[in-house]
Symmetry: C2
Subunit: 132 residues, 2 copies
DNA sequence: CTATCTGTTATATGATATTTATAACAGATA
DNA sequence: TATCTGTTATAAATATCATATAACAGATAG
């Protein structure tokens, strides 16, 4: 899995890594049961410290995306990511709130906002070409 | 305008304040040309330091929501908030990206996500009752 | 048995972000 | 002149982010 980090970004790199792994799961590039590189390997691969990777992995574990076995290593949750519950939906709403507020101020129409979301959904859910 | 801060939140309070002012503008509770409390007054009202309010105001100025006059004080941009440009739309897309990714993993359907956005849009754009 | 692989823990350091506290300044205005 | 703006400067406390080294414990491959 290809990881790209922007060290100039104001988004901390442990979060960037987390987002990219989640995106990989969403795109099914990372499948349930699949192994992730060890904290040391991942850290070396992308040129950061192992503790930073460790932080990412633990947050992903906390959210139910992965399992961490002390010796076997890290695997994508074989049962898949836990389904959205009320708490998640509330948290999602709170995250969307300021984005929608600013968009309204800037005259972004509901339709335009919707289209943006749809295009993002498609980016994750569209079938990849496996025929080649 | 009523401001509520959560000091336990991991969202810094200067951002919480920023989001609430933007929400106020979106809801047209704060109208173009309207004054905002001085940094000192606002700080005293909500029980924080004036520099924290100052930081909020400057970020809002940077984004074009407000104007800051050295003596007159702070007013909501009389020309309204600048319209969304390509840069804003890209930034919005980048902000939505991880939210959509996680939602896809958790089985949130596009339709459900859309409904959530619509309900938020309505929260900001619905006409207030001015007949009473 | 030993070397090597896991994640884990501990300790330290440096940089940056957040928030507060005091104080003073400059310009407009009542 | 007193009071109101935002601004600037300095300091300090605290938290977050990221790195660096080192060691530990358990599983496993040779």
């Amino acid at each position: 899995m290809y990881i790209h980090l922007d060290f100039e970004s104001d988004t901390p790199i442990y979060k960037q890594l987390m987002h990219q792994i989640i995106a990989g799961i969403a795109k099914q590039e990372l499948k349930p049961g699949e192994s992730l590189p060890s904290v040391r390997t991942m850290a070396a691969d992308i040129g950061i410290n192992l503790h930073t990777v460790n932080k990412t992995y633990h947050q992903l574990k906390e959210k139910g995306f992965i399992l961490i076995h002390r010796q076997k290593g890290v695997v994508i949750n074989p049962d898949g990511t836990p389904k959205a519950d009320e708490i998640y939906m509330l948290q999602l709403k709170n995250a969307l709130y300021p984005l929608v507020a600013e968009s309204v101020c800037r005259g972004v129409k509901e339709e335009e906002f919707r289209q943006l979301c749809i295009s993002l959904f498609q980016e994750f859910t569209q079938r990849k070409d496996r025929s080649k």
